[in-house]
């Protein structure tokens, strides 16, 4: 396949940045999108140019490191996948592909297509945990029976990979899907109940401090989420937040 890539290049956080065109040839449909960028980078290095910086690590859709806004969509045109799982068979010979970083005030650009998503970490420092000592003196696990339905729902929320596609795709740059997934995971479990009030208040507070926008129920986040995290979690978080506000 022969393609024209239009890639956002930005030297560092201070640089203004801009789109640069890169024609590329010999791309196979079996290549992943990131392997296509590897091919481009190899060519750039051989020409004495600087390769395009992009985040990636596990390349099997689970670490959440890869990002990329491809033709205006977080993780590209395929559904239910991360960029590393996107394959070039989704594109046609002769296509022009726009490749940009995830854009949000709370995700500042580090270089080219690499953004800083540490705001997600800070939200979790504020309450994304159950306070239990790691001493090994906990009670036997089966003395906390959990309804399978609840355990499965908790798991579904916990499957969030923290990639930030929800933020990148939201017109308000809202992190509600991410934060609600974290809140839901614990809200659905008996172990998480004791701190539920503080957890939701603190996490939402930190989310606001980081500069994420609010949710206007557009639902784009759910559509673009590579792990199918449900909007239902946002409703649950709103209920938790309202009830916590009344208690708090």
């Amino acid at each position: 396949m022969k393609l024209t890539l239009k890639i956002w290049r930005q030297k560092n956080a201070q640089d203004k940045g801009g789109i640069v065109d890169y024609p590329i040839d010999g791309i196979e449909p079996d290549m992943s999108f990131l392997e296509m960028l590897d091919v481009l980078n190899e060519q750039l290095i051989n020409k004495g140019e600087e390769p395009v910086a992009f985040d990636h690590d596990c390349r099997e859709g689970i670490c959440g490191m890869c990002s990329l806004f491809i033709n205006g969509e977080a993780h590209g045109p395929d559904r239910g996948v991360t960029t590393c799982q996107l394959h070039m068979r989704m594109f046609k010979d002769g296509d022009t592909i726009f490749i940009e970083p995830f854009r949000a005030k709370a995700f500042p650009v580090i270089k080219d297509l690499v953004v800083d998503r540490s705001s997600f970490d800070r939200i979790q420092h504020a309450g994304g945990f159950i306070s239990v000592n790691t001493s090994g003196n906990t009670i036997d696990a089966n003395t906390i029976p959990i309804n399978k339905h609840d355990a499965d729902k908790s798991f579904d929320a916990a499957a969030c990979i923290g990639c930030g596609a929800c933020v990148a795709t939201c017109k308000n740059s809202s992190a509600m899907l991410f934060v609600s997934a974290k809140v839901s995971q614990y809200a659905l479990l008996p172990q998480g109940k004791v701190e539920a009030v503080d957890r939701v208040l603190n996490m939402v507070h930190q989310m606001d401090l980081e500069g994420f926008g609010n949710c206007t129920n557009t639902g784009a986040c759910e559509v673009e989420c590579p792990k199918g995290i449900s909007l239902e979690n946002i409703a649950r978080m709103n209920r938790e937040y309202l009830s916590a506000s009344l208690k708090g």
């Binding site: 239990v132 090994g136 908790s154």
Partner: protein, 666 residues
């Protein structure tokens, strides 16, 4: 130097308890005067950081990723073992201990493995208390499943994302401590050297990967939990960033490196599709619980499939060769990984492979879908003779067990595994070798510890399924927090360690010099060019099957490639910025040394053992032939300037509780 493993005396079942009863403790008020550096924040490093911070130590944790949550432990799929005997099928600490030693082909240290089995049940309790959503039965109790190489059901899981959920559990425990200021987290930082003062590990030199700044960090002890070195093969199931630098740098400063040749080849990975391939994707071993592995019984059928003239589903039962079930009736598709991998390679080499390159076998779920569907129809009072209904119901059950894996396969291969058997082939997965540690998990550098995949101690020559997550969390949550206290007890009055000491200055200079050398080296080839070349040598001559001739050649070729790398590598950009090529260059430089030691270790070990298969040493039936008389030891290598000069030290493995017998899965 004689290796002292410091294994406590007494009966095996009392060793760990007695040890804990007699070690030195650090008073809680003194812990806050002690700093600990932890490099790597996966299951081992993350759980260690959380626990040590909770105990009161000042923890500084480092990871090269943008967040600890991305450590490659997150990709582990199948499960974690624990001797809970919830199923009442006779499991016990002793049985888990026995299976792990046997599964490791009698090359693990008994005392360490017994301790691992002892604390395994605590891990499940701990994780559940932290809100890790492990799989449940309808009654609300924890579910578990069986895994390769064992005859009991002891593997706890969270769909095919167990590593993810366990890692997020450890990460949440870290978050709690980061929020309290007890862990200082350094994301996007890479350790590039260790600093040794008066013979003790007292700090590290790290590079801030965003700014390029070289930083000095001091501590009273340094813990390396940086994972394995499978990426020495370039293609492996490891994350692209997984590297051996931290482990290799401590090796160069005095930590012995043990059993580098013990590398696990995992049987169930998605086959290579072309030259562009950047990494390989694992499909969880749990699939072997329900998937049946086969190739066509006749070569002409295999050829027709490769040429696209026939499909897998065109072949009847009698035209298929379920080779694992045929060769190993007792364990069938659940034989250990090395056995399954070699059997697949043997069939493919004999011309029975089923993908274009002839390097793939089938993993078929048709029988499982039918079995589950029939059962479900019966439970629901529906017509179990309705084939379409049974298939639909069965596919739903399979989806609930392995749904994410099937989706992942579909996205990569573009074929639906519910209707067409998956294609799989072995790939490099987990490294059982690593830095040598004593019973305290301390390396041969006092004050420098190594935990999880980066040490060598618990898996022997071969790793059973679901044992890696267990070791990572055991080391981090329950073992290191005791043993490090014993080491630190005499240091309570030491006070903060200055980073102005000459040792820090010297180590920093060494790091800067290496970086400058890369940046100023105006070569002609990229880092990946060299990494791929190294990987090819490793796979061809140090891969699934090895022989003396190939290994001797590999040693020479790697040394030559290393020389070429230093002369001809091209690293664009500058040192003082975000520079991914520079990151890769420093890592590949280490792989180019490690690879040579790996081959040297494989050459000296004149036996076949677990993941190490020497063609000269096999039974008439083609099974691995171990030599306990001459090789029942840990090979611990001491660095002496270059890998070819490394000096071999032997730690004899003494089996007091388990009799060494030839492994048989027939």
């Amino acid at each position: 130097m004689a290796l002292d493993s410091k294994i406590p005396h007494g009966p095996i079942s009392d060793k760990w308890t007695d040890y804990k009863d007699h070690i030195n403790l650090v008073n809680p008020a003194n812990k806050r005067n002690l700093d600990i550096i932890i490099v790597g924040t996966g299951l081992a490093g993350g759980s260690a950081a959380a626990t040590l911070a909770e105990q009161g130590y000042n923890v500084k944790a480092f990871c090269f990723q943008d967040s600890p949550r991305r450590a490659h432990s997150i990709a582990a799929q199948g499960g974690i073992n624990a001797a809970k005997n919830y199923k009442g099928d006779g499991d016990s600490v002793y049985r888990l201990f026995y299976d792990t030693v046997k599964g490791g082909d009698y090359r693990a240290r008994e005392a360490n493995v017994h301790r691992l089995a002892e604390v395994s049940a605590n891990i499940i309790d701990q994780c559940v208390a932290q809100g890790v959503p492990l799989a449940r039965e309808y009654g609300g109790l924890l579910d578990n499943r069986s895994f390769g190489g064992t005859l009991v059901s002891r593997t706890f899981y969270a769909q095919g994302q167990t590593g993810q959920q366990l890692l997020l559990g450890a990460y949440s425990a870290m978050n709690r401590q980061i929020g309290r200021g007890k862990i200082k987290m350094y994301n996007r930082h890479e350790m590039l050297d260790i600093v040794i003062v008066n013979g003790k590990a007292r700090g590290i030199i790290a590079r801030n990967l965003i700014t390029g700044e070289i930083e000095r960090h001091s501590a009273h002890a340094v813990v390396v939990g940086s994972g394995g070195y499978g990426n020495v093969f370039f293609l492996s199931t490891n994350a692209m960033g997984s590297n051996a630098t931290a482990a290799w740098k401590i090796h160069k400063k005095g930590a012995f490196f043990a059993n580098p040749c013990y590398t696990q080849i995992h049987p169930t990975c998605i086959p290579v599709s072309g030259d562009h391939q950047s990494k390989l994707t694992l499909m969880s071993e749990s699939l072997r619980n329900d998937g049946r592995i086969w190739v066509p019984a006749k070569q002409e059928d295999a050829k027709a499939i490769r040429e696209g003239k026939k499909k897998a589903t065109d072949l009847s039962e009698t035209e298929r060769d379920y080779f694992l079930e045929r060769r190993y009736p007792a364990f069938g598709n659940l034989v250990p990984r090395d056995v399954a991998s070699r059997a697949a390679k043997e069939r493919c080499d004999a011309g029975f492979g089923v993908n274009k390159t002839g390097e793939a076998v089938y993993l078929d779920f048709a029988a499982a879908i039918k079995r589950y569907g029939t059962e479900e129809a019966f439970v629901k009072g529906l017509d179990a003779n309705d084939a379409a209904l049974v298939t639909k119901l069965g596919a739903e059950i399979v989806k609930s067990k392995y749904g994410n894996l099937f989706q992942m396969y579909y996205k990569i291969v573009d074929e639906d595994p519910y209707t067409t058997p998956m294609m799989i082939y072995p790939a490099v997965h987990y490294t059982m070798g690593g830095t040598w540690v004593d019973y305290n998990l301390m390396t041969t550098i006092p004050g420098c510890f190594s935990i999880g995949e980066s040490n060598f101690s618990d898996h022997g020559a071969n790793r059973l399924g679901a044992s890696a997550l267990m070791q990572g969390l055991a080391d981090g949550y329950f073992v290191l927090p005791y043993t490090i206290g014993d080491y630190l007890a005499p240091d309570i009055k030491m006070g903060e360690i200055s980073t102005d000491l000459p040792e820090f200055v010297a180590a920093e200079k060494e790091v800067k010099d290496q970086i400058d050398r890369f940046i100023n080296n105006k070569g002609t080839h990229s880092v990946d060019y060299f990494h791929k070349k190294l990987g090819k040598i490793m796979w061809d001559k140090v891969g699934m099957a090895r022989n003396a001739k190939g290994l001797t050649e590999a040693i020479e070729e790697i040394a030559a490639l290393r020389e070429e790398f230093y002369k001809d590598v091209k690293v664009p950009g500058s040192a003082n910025e975000f520079n991914q090529e520079l990151e890769k260059a420093t890592r590949v430089a280490d792989f180019l040394e490690l690879g040579e030691l790996f081959a040297k270790d494989a050459l000296h070990r004149n036996e076949s053992c677990g993941g190490h298969f020497r063609e000269e040493y096999q039974t008439e039936e083609g099974e691995a032939l171990r030599d306990d008389e001459n090789f029942a030891y840990v090979a611990a290598w001491e660095y002496k300037g270059k890998p070819s000069d490394a000096v071999l030290h032997k730690e004899p493995l003494v089996y007091e509780n388990i009799k060494l017998v030839q492994r048989s899965y027939k």
